[in-house]
Structures are given as C-alpha cells and as structure tokens.
Symmetry: D2
Subunit: 446 residues, 4 copies
C-alpha cells in the first residue's frame, strides 16, 4: 500500500508532512521518510519503523528546512522490510538537478525496464520499482521536467500515484487508470497533497479534490497547473481502498469510505438466512460494516471484541508467526456479551484466514453458542499486482479452498461472502466501469 | 490510577508480567517496571515511558530471571512525571530481607506517617506514598511477614491494592473498603494477579476472582492462603473504574464494565427530551454507553468520530497544552455522517472540559446542525484522594460552573448529565452501599 | 576508586560538574550521576556507562537547574556493575530535608552499622556503603547539619572523601587519615571541589588546595567555613593514587603525580643490573616512570607500544575474559623499534598479571630479543579495603607466587620491583608517616 | 582521509572487518559501514558516528553474514558530515550484479565525468566521487569485471585506493601514483586488506605487503591474481601519511611511520639555534618527533601536556568552534614540569593555527618562561585535492601569513619549520621521486 504526502509553499513544510504521514500511518508502519527543499538543496531523513520512531529526536526545522516537502510511509512486503535503502522518498542527482520521489502503487514492467537500462550502464541503488521513474527521467532528452515526466509515465505500465520534489518544484501524478488515491487541497498560500483526505483534515484547508486519473499537477506560485499525461481510458480504482485500506473518515474516489462500508454491511444483511442474537465487528476496520448489517438485519450490534491499541493492525505485521501470536494480544472477547449467543461476526475480508480462525476460537472460548462469519466483500482469490501487498495464490485462503472447506478451517458455523456483483452494486459501480475488482474476480483490470 | 500485575510460580514470570502490563497500559503510560525473583535475589528494571519502550531491548530472561515477578505501570500526575525514582515497583533491603512493592491507590495519612518516621531517623528515597509501606514493614517487630503486613496496613488510611514480592513469597492485599480493583486466577502450577481481568485473559487460566476487600493473600506452593487484614466495614469501590478506567472487557468488582456502561447509556436515554438524528460516541471509552443510548432512544448509532490510535488516550497526556493540541490529531469527524444532523454526542465524563469544547467545535466545522452533549455520569465536582489522578477544584469544569455556563463554554446546544442517584441505580447500587461516588457527590466515602 | 566533584554558587553548576566528571573519567567508567539544587529542590540524573553516555541528550539546564551541584563517576566492582540503584550521588528525604551524597572511599564497618539500623526498622535502597551516611544523618538528634555530620563520621570506620548537597548547602569532608584525595578552589563567586586538580584546571580558578584530612568544609556565601571532624591522628594517603590512579597532571596530596612517578622510575634505574637496548613504557600510565628510568639509566626511551584509545584502560574493564581479549585490541608493538632489542618494559604495577603476560608475548612476537619487566612499585600482595577495587588474595599474582614463579608466568627474562622502602623514599615519606602502603606491605594502615 | 578494510574467505568476515575499522578509527570518526557477502547476496549496515556506535547492538553474524566483507570509516568534510547517503561502502545493482565499493582518496575529474554521464541519463544517489566508479563500471561493455575495472580506472584522474566486493569476488586497486596506502596479508585460507598494517596486526597473518601503485588484485580461492591497471609512472605517496595520518606502528609505503617521524624530529634538532630547558610533544601525534628531537638536541624530553582521551583527535572534529573550545578539554599542562622553563613545543604540523595558539596560551598560563614552537614538517600552504580533507587557502594559516606574523598570531617566542628539502631528506626521498609534497610546496604532484 504505502501512503504519500506533500506540502508546497507551506511554512515548516516537513513538519506538516510529518503530521500527515502520522495520520496515514495505517497505510504503512515499516518505514518513513521525508525530503524537504529549502529552495536550493534537498534535505533527507528516512528510517525503519513508525513515523514517531523515525522522527523522534529529529530536529525537524534544522534537519528538514524549507517550505516544500514530500514524504512516504512504507508498508513492507514480507522478507524485505529490513532493506533500509528502499525506504522512500528516493532521491537522486540528475542532470536536471536533484529530484526526490514518493510512490504509491506498483509497476508491472519495471523488471523489463530495469534490465534494459542496466544493459545500457545504469546502476540501481534499490530493489524498488520506484527507482525506475528516476532513471527514466534521467534519460529523457526533453528540455522541461513536465515533458520528461510525461515521457517517463508513458513507458511504465502499472499503478502509480506519485509526488516529485525538486529544489523549487512539486509535481503530483496519478496513473491513467487511477488505481491508487491521491488528493489535494489549498492551504494558506500553498498546497497540500496526501493519499487520503483524513490527512488534509488536520489543517484548515480549502476544499479537497482528487488528483484525477491521468493528471499531472505542477504547483506554481499562482496556483496549480493541471495537465494530462494521457487520455484516461477508464477508471480502475482499487475497491480494496473502500473496503479496508482507507480510513473510514477519508473521502476516497469521491465518496466517504464509511458510507461505502455501510452499504457493504447492508448488502450482507440483505442476503442473510441466519438470525443471530448479536452482531459483533472485528474492530476497527469492520465497525461501519457490522453496524449497518445490524441495522438492516434488526439484530443488536455489540462491541463484543475489544481491540488493544498498543499494537498495530493485524494485517500489517510482517511474518506469519507474529501474526498468529498477536491475535490474542490484540483482541479480547467480552464474555458477558457473547456467552450463549449466536454471534454474527462481521469482517471486511479474509486474506490468509489465520486471523479469522483465531478470532472464532476466541469467541467460542468465551462461550459463544454459534459463530457465523460474514465477510463484507467477495472471496479474495487473486494476488494484486497494482499496489496492494498480498500473499501469493498458495497463501490466499479463498484461492485454495471452497467455502465449505474454508468454513471448516476457520471453525465457523457458517460463512457468507458478498458476490462481486453485490460488491459492485454497493460501490455504486454496477457496470464495473470504475472499480478494479481483480483480487475478487481474477479478471485483469485492463 | 496505575496498574499492577504479578506472577507466582510461573515460568519466565517477568515475561508474563510484561504482557499483562502491556494489556494494562491504559491505566498508566508514564513509566513501567518489573521486579523478579530467581528464588534468592530480586532483579529490577524500571523506566520512563510505555511498557514497550521500557522493555524494548531488555533481555527479559537474563535481566529478570525467575518464576516470581511483580510489575507496575504508572500514571503520572502533572509535574512529577519525570521523577524516575518514583517508578514502581519500589524495592528495598529490610532486616527481613529484600522486598518489592507495587501499589495502586493513594494513602491519606502518608505525610503524617512519613514525618513521624523521618523524625525517628528514617530516610525516604522517593516522594511516593508507597514507600511508607516499606518503612512500616521495616519497623515492625512482628516475627512473620503476614503479621507485619497486617500491622502496616493497620496504620495507613486510604486506598491500596498491593502486591509484595520477597525472594520467595508473593502477597496480594486490598484495603478494607476495596477502593481499587485487584483480581487473581490460577495458571498452571502458579497464580497470576492483575488490576483487571483483561490482563489475565491473555493466558489460559482457571476462573478469575477478586482479591476481596480487606483480604491478604499469600501464595504458597499448594495454593493460596487467604487471610483478613481487618473486618471489611463496607465496600467503597471506585465508580470511575466502571465509568472510564477499566477496559470494557474487564470484569471489575464482579461485573463486566461493558454491561455497566450499557446501563449508564440507557439511563441517559431514559431522561432524554431532545430527539437527535444520530448518536455519536467519543471513541473508544464511551462506545458502549452511546450504543446503549442509541438503542434505548431509537436513534441511529454512527461512528461519526474516528480516533487515531497512533497517539494515546486524551486524558492520559500530562500537560494542558498538549491535551488541547492533541484533540485534532486524535479525533476526526466523518463529515458525511454529521453534516446537517442533530448530533447526540455521548461521552463518559467531563473533567476539565477542554477536550469536549474542541470536539464540539470539530463537529460544527464538519457541518453538524446541532451538537447535544450527553454525559453518562454525574457532574465531576470533587477531586479524588483515593487513587484517581484528578485536577484540583479550580480545574474541574463542573466544580466551577453551573450547567448552563458549562454548556456555553463547551459550545453545545444542550448538556445533560446523569444524577448521582441515576448513576447508583445503573451501578446496581441504589442504596449507595458498595460504590464510592465522592468525585460526583462531594461526600466523603467513609 | 570513583571520582567526585561539586560546584557551589556557580552558574549552570551541573554543566560545570559534568565537565569535571568527564575529566575524572579515568577514576570510573561504569556509571555517572549528578544531583543539582535550584535553591529549593534537588534534581537528579544518573545512569550506567560513561559521562558522555549518561548525559548525552540530557538537556542539562532543564533537567539539572541551579547553581549548586554534586556529581560522581563510578568504578564498578566485578559482578555488581549492573546495579543501577547503586549509582551515586545517592539522594534521600530526611527530616532535615532532601540530601544527596557522593562518596569516594570504603567503609569497614558498614555491614555492622547496617545490620544494627535494619534491626531498628531502617530500609536500605542500595547495597552501597555510602547509604550508611544518609541513615546515620537521618538518625542524628543534633539540631544542625554540621553537628549531625560530625556525629555520623564519628560512627564510621574507613576511608571517605565526601560531598553532601542539600537544597542550599554544600559540605566537603575528608576522613581523618586522608586516605582518598579531595581538593577545592575558588571560582568566580563560588567554589569547585573535585577528587583531582586536573578537573579544576578546566576552569579559571584561584589556587587549589587540599580539603585536609579530618576536615569538614561548609560553603557559605562569604567563603568557606572550615571545621574539624576530629583530631587527625596521622595521614594515611593512598600511595596507589601517586602510582596509578591520579592523572599525572594532578597535584595530589600536595605533589604533582608526574614528579612522583619520575622519582619512582629513577629509583628503579638506580638498582638496575641489566643493560637494555631500549626502554618501553606500557602506555600511558607508566610513561613518566619509563622516561625517568631511561634518563637515569642512560638507555634510549622509545614509544615501542602504541595504545588504541578507542577502548578504555585495561584495568578498568570488569571481567577477566574481556581483559585478556582486550590487550591485543589496545596495545600494538612497533616492530621496527623492538625487533632484536633487549627491551626494558616499564609498568606501574602488576595486579593479576594477565595483562603483563600478554604484553610480553606481544613484544616477543614483534621480535624482541629479551623482555625485562620493571615495575615502578612494590609487589602488590594485599587487597585494599580503603577504596581501591582490588581482587582477592587468590587473584593477586604477587600474593600467590614468588618473583621467579611470577617471572616465568609472565614470560619475562627478568622481573624487578621496587621495595616498600624504595617506594617510601620516592614518595618523600621515608619514615612511612604519611602514606598508606598496605597493598604492598600487608601491614594495616592504622 | 578515510580508512578501508576487507576480508576474503575469512569466517565471520564482517566481524574481522569491524575490528580492523575500529583500529583505523583515527582515519575517520564521522561514519562507518560494512557490506558483506554470503556468497550470493550483499548485506549492508552503515551509520553516522564511530564504529562502536554504528555496530553497537548490530547482531553481526545475522545482519552481515558471510566470509567476504568490505568496510569503510569516513572522515567528514565540514558541512557534509550529516549526509548519511554518502557513508560508504556504496552499493548498487549493475547488469553484472550487485557491487559494493570502499574508496580512500579523491578524484579530480569526477565532476566532469559525472556531468557527462548525467547528460546521458545517469542518476546519482550521492554527492560522493566514489559513485563515479560504479557508473563507469555499469557502462563498460567489457565482458569481465577485471577488464571493466581497468577501463573505469583509465577514465578517472586522481587518488584512489579501492576495495570492490561482488557476491563472490573481492578486488583491491591502487592508483598508478600510489597516493594513498593499501596493504594486504594472508590470513588462514583467506586474505585481509586494510589502509594500514596496524589493522592487520590484530590477526595472526602472514607477512603484510603493499598493494602496489597501479596494481589490481583479485582474490581467488588459490591465492591472489595480481595484474596491472597501467604502467605506474612514478610514485606520489602522500607525505602527510608519514607525518600525521598513519598510526606510528603502521608500516606505510614500506617504512614504519614511527621511524620516519624520529628522523623528522632529528632533522628539526639539527637546525636548532635555541636551547630549551625541556622538550614537550603535543600528544600523541608528535610524540616520536619530539622524543627524537630531544635526543638529538640533548634537551630533556618531558610529558608536559596530558591528553584527555575521552574526546577525539583535535583535527578530526568538524566545525571550527568546537575545535577551539575543545583544546582545554583535551590538553592540560603539567605545571610542575613547565613552570619557569623554556619549553620547546614540538608538533607535527600547523593547519589552521587555532589549536597551536591555544596550546601556547595553556603553557604560558601554567608558567612556562618561553614557548618555542617547532613543527616537524614544512609550512602547510596548499589544499590537498588527493584525499586529505584540508581547508581552503583562506583558512590555511601558513598560506595567509609569513612566519613572523604566524609566530605572533600563535603567541610563540619562536617558530621553526622544516623546509621541503629537509622533509624529503627525512623521508629518504631526497630527489622527490616518491613522495607527494604538494601541500607544502604548492607544486602539483604530476
């Protein structure tokens, strides 16, 4: 996933970006970095861990001076989370001068591009696909940066929301399909950019709007220069942002995620055949879904599982062992609520299935009479190559087992998913013209 | 507040205690410590900050070996939170041998006792009232530790849940009024103790039970030796544990806090005269209250405020400035839910009023048509001297202003509290025989 | 050993003390601490490690405000160096008010005193003999602090140079025998105290002078009030200060240590029967001795061993294994100087003998034809109970083996010590009336 | 300056390299790094600060596994010492695979090469000239690495001692002039490389020898493959290595530095016209010079200045202010030795002159009757572009002032330097055919 943020013509830009990154912490907890510009030189701080850990004891105005800054929080894929060199924003010196880039997304053809450039003598400092952009820009013969950016984006295939910082310029780009989100808002005499509006909400900004699919925005002193990379063929917005990634208070792809999630929960209720005694969310990501399900189903909503916030999101800890071990540390059932009850347990998705198995076991230990699992999205059956860190086929529970097998594996009394059509309906995209649902359908987005 | 935990005859006792302290982190975030015994020597680690910060990089089996351990998380009162020497468990060498103590509560007569002992030549290493216990034990002529403990407790007046660790013994004590909670459960061949059951839930234990008011428990290899300090006159359990401190999944004073909170929310609804469009909790501490209010009032419950869990509880950060500044970092309204709505905002209590003022402002900025504040407890009008860290009279909003003034100060359209009688009813203590409500009534508990 | 320092009526007293402690770092590298007074409250910072490690990132003016301060560097005895609670200055609250103490020395009767006070109900927070002083002061009925200090010192037996800090007062005390050093000098409108003059040299002070044996000095605004604890029977100054502990630039017990060491080296040369080709010191502690030996013997002095200053003094690392392993890391021979030469290797002393054995082996590996070891002090045959951290009899090489056995053990071609009489002569104390030489003679000092 | 080290086919190669880097710490204290190979993957750890600070808490076998490793200690030039990205070894992915490089020296034409490669689309991740090598290698069409290395070295002009590490290979290269040192020795079944022999001395190695000027060495399992980059025109060994940089126990450019320094000191004595009472070195770098001067002049050598080793070398701290402030912290005169004496103060060189001015003042404060400054090298009048971090002309004291002005500035009674001819004579290079003396003569080396 990852989260990105930038500030242009904002006093103490790095401080503003650090607050936004902290607000985007749910998008990545493995590393964080900020590059600022004082108008002539780029300054860089990066490190492993949470935003607070990286910037603790860093004297921001001294180490990251200036009114322009770009930042990144990193969601590590298993096995590579220790590679400090991959922490973004990446920065390098090109013939055009210094340039930093923060990237949310994933390129499909970066290995091919990379091998080609290596054969011509390029050297790569990281294993990240993001570095590809810097090399393409470095090789462009175009006289202006916007032209070079357009050329570079023309060569890559995949998902990319990008923020580029030179000593005096800030560019924001979103790929023509608009896979990953990116928003902006005016703030004082400058501009703020972020993956989600919840980060902009920290400041008194003007109205937030999307960086449009296929758009390239250049901040200039008088406002924004908005150009097009290419004709945007059709949106392919990531449906998993609406289901899980984005915070519920963020307006992503034009709609508040909470509202989408309420519709997903209601859709689940509409097809219900079991009557439970209580509805319990797996907090906090499925809260809105479970609440709407309960309302629609006429079953009491209860906070039957308490989350311990002194640890991170279950999904986000790299390494399978730590994940299993952590469930009991993170979730505790309220025995007085669940004992003797038919519990309708609502969650946003099942990826590996290991967490859900543990949660069901916790509920049964606490005395639940029945545990019915309701998932407010379709079966997750296909890895994502457009920017979500997903496991391979062999680890995707729903790709390996039919519903009955999976139900038995997680120990539930029943297991119900939404269908892809129901998901699209709830997303307000019945014809499938705006959202990517590849992870659920297996059909390529484009 | 503070939280305490101990393990007796449990392998890697310090590790078990560290997990329990982490689960009790909501009871204190300013410092943490563990003292373990390897059977002959006490080992100590203490530090400022969160449990994870103090024990990060500490090789627990090497630094804190043994099957007995006692631990403490500290809730700092403003102005003293930097005093590292006050971090518990305290430990000292007495003629009886080494002894460590972890204390949750507050002594009323410790200054008097202290001055008396100082006059006779005692020296104090801390400013903590907890050290008083060690001095009283050191001075006791009684041949056995239980007798000395009984004598020491006979001299102090106030609230105390205590865990004492010698190289070979563990004692748990609760004051005769039972102000502060303390529970225990068998685990394997040993025993676990903690302030709340949510900490015991991390392990596969036998049934948890209260250390009773006025009880002194000594762990022995064959089980528990349970004796009495004194006749327990009458329970004076802290009602604020039920309202705010204890986790909702904890069974405190014999009842799950979630259930008490649901009754408090329902009691609020029962006296409602305004009909709102939506009910919004100030997450997470008022979730159960708001949900029950919504159910009883027949008004939709909505997650209209999203909490950022990368920072701590509002109440828990020392220093007024940081608290004000932090609200916007911690809470963000979901504009699509609250815009144009009459919002019934439910919270557990108002202490200084500064947070609530900011929350109401956030809701109005997000477009709420009306903001009605409902507090699921009575006016907080009196400082607590029995273990809750409360500000002085002059800082208690409800002690300084009548309801109308306070309503205007926080900017709400209306403001409703429970009465003390309604609180007692909801606590199942209509005659006021079991709960201390001094902070709400101003009447001394005993 | 340990080193102590204090500042009275000096702006930013804690900063001045921190610089002095750094200059006294050779007296102890295991822990450091400072207690300052802002006139009413004592502030404390202590930690394990070097002065720079403890006070790195500590905002001294904020954490240790005030014009009075006292500090300590700790030399850990093997096995106890991890006990953070023992790091000085110790501080406690007495009926007289808060008091901090820094102590260099060792009490002989502290176990007896301690057991007596514990039996009467005292509790001890540390295992340090220094805490005894605080308890004795706490128990004194005397109305004034000077009287109480005189009483307390009257009860202890042993070596003590002491600095006491109350919120408004600073006291310096040296035991009647004057075992351990303590000096002072006026600085601006105030006073500085330190174990050695090299620490005072950092500042523009007036002339330094000794705190006299048996003297108690109280700083008052108009100057120093100098009183007597007791009649000083006879000086028993530690001869090992002159031989090894004090820095060569310090004026200790009235004479610059460099000059004493030159006389020790010359005394060695006076009894020489072997004619070497070159004289090589074991740097840096024997530099002056070897230089004077070379001058007197008419043999060229050479820097034949180079010391790596990225590690500490050999003697100072706790744990025998680390010490052996460290010699090659710390010392490297200059092969071109020693190859084929009869090397006269001069060192200040042999304690365990393990380092010397390794140094001789290093010289032989580098091609030395002969290695003659010359020790500028007598055989070290007796543990010290007056403040030097020495091993037990069984680990003292010279207590376990005669000269020939020891020579063979360390692999030298010859081994020569000074006699006790020669040492006294070089110390300018031919009649033995001023210096303690118990570690060399085995005869008790008093 | 910087220091480099490598190990090939040595168990726990990174540990061996870390010990060598620690021994080379005097060559750079601002940053350190190690890259190891486990045979297929390169592992990297780098950081700001001392070797101990960077590798403290790093589990070397886990983080840097394998039998091949290369390391670097960095000497920061003022103003850039915070740029973490510049800490070596640099590593990148080329078409040939991963490659790491550690470099001691400086390239004269790297800006030109860089601009050319940037124009062709290369991107640079650092501001270091070392990265140039990686780009040249990446661009080479040559099929084998040795050929590509030869080509790359053919394009650069300047000083370079280099160590390259691929997953399976180690290469050592020294520029044709041999400006900077590099030595190697067999160790077990493998090889060790280092800037100085003092680092090799930590291990039981076979005889050490120079990597020859213009030589490229490839480690292979059966031994070393030694080839030539180019015909070595003439040696231009850095004379400042002999004067100051290398440790006295290192055999650099074929001779032990201590011995060279003794000749430099003797040369100073040979031209002496003043008769001092004592000779005092500025410890430790001028110890051997001062000792030889004293012997030759027949004036007693005295340790008249004591160095505090708890801080670094004077020359090595970036920032002029810290340097001035630090002199009193680092050096303390022994008043009893210098008082009333005509002091002949011997130092290796004068760069900015600020330290020497302070040292002279310290001696006078301590009572020296006269202070005559003797410098065992010529006037330092020209910045170095071949790898020594020197200030610009405007900061070089001897480039800005004639001897009399400089003498007055530092407050000495007299000031004498060696001439360039005397330096060459002492270096054993009377015809100037082997040593670079550009910093003293201003004449370019080639």
């Amino acid at each position: 996933m990852c989260g990105i943020a930038a500030a242009y013509n904002v006093p103490d830009a790095a401080y503003a970006v650090s607050l936004m990154l902290k607000r985007l912490q749910h998008r990545g907890r493995s590393g964080a970095g900020i590059v600022s510009s004082d108008g002539s030189v780029l300054h860089e701080v990066r490190g492993l861990g949470l935003v607070d850990q990286v910037f603790d004891r860093v004297d921001l105005p001294a180490r990251l001076p200036g009114a322009l800054a770009v930042g990144h929080v990193r969601y590590a894929t298993t096995g590579h989370h220790g590679l400090a060199a991959n922490i973004q924003p990446l920065a390098a010196k090109l013939k055009r001068g210094p340039l930093a880039v923060a990237h949310n997304g994933n390129l499909l053809n970066h290995e091919t591009l990379r091998r080609g450039m290596e054969a011509e003598g390029a050297i790569f400092g990281t294993t990240s696909d993001t570095e590809t952009f810097l090399h393409l820009l470095a090789r462009s013969e175009r006289p202006t940066t916007p032209e070079a950016l357009r050329d570079a984006c023309g060569e890559v295939v995949g998902a990319y929301s990008l923020l580029f910082l030179s000593p005096t310029e800030l560019f924001a780009i979103r790929d023509p399909y608009g896979f990953r989100p990116l928003v902006c808002a005016p703030c004082g005499d400058g501009w703020l950019f972020a993956s989600e509006t919840c980060a902009l909400d920290l400041f008194r900004t003007g109205p937030a709007e999307e960086v449009l699919p296929g758009e390239m925005i250049q901040c200039v002193s008088s406002g924004l220069w908005r150009g097009r990379l290419a004709e945007a063929p059709v949106r392919r917005q990531c449906s998993f942002e609406q289901i899980y990634f984005s915070r519920p208070d963020s307006v992503t792809f034009g709609e508040t995620c909470n509202d989408v999630r309420e519709r997903l929960g209601a859709a689940l209720a509409a097809k219900e055949t079991v009557r439970g005694d209580i509805v319990v969310p797996v907090p906090d990501s499925s809260n809105a879904m479970a609440l709407a399900y309960a309302d629609a189903a006429g079953v009491p909503f209860k906070f039957g599982l308490i989350r311990d916030h002194n640890t991170g999101r279950t999904f986000i800890t790299p390494g399978q062992d730590a994940r299993i071990h952590g469930v009991r540390m993170k979730l505790n059932p309220v025995a007085s609520l669940v004992a003797g009850k038919r519990v309708m347990l609502v969650d946003d998705s099942i990826v590996r299935g290991t967490t859900m198995k543990k949660v069901v076991a916790l509920l049964r230990e606490a005395g639940a009479a029945e545990a019915h699992v309701r998932i407010a999205s379709p079966r997750f059956i296909h890895p994502c190559f457009w920017g979500i860190d997903t496991p391979s086929f062999s680890e995707l529970a729903a790709a390996q087992a039919d519903d009955e097998t999976l139900r038995a594996m997680i120990g539930a009394d029943s297991l119900v998913y939404l269908t892809v059509a129901e998901l699209r309906e709830a997303l307000g995209d019945a014809d499938g013209s705006r959202f990517c649902t590849t992870c659920f359908s297996g059909k390529p987005p484009c």
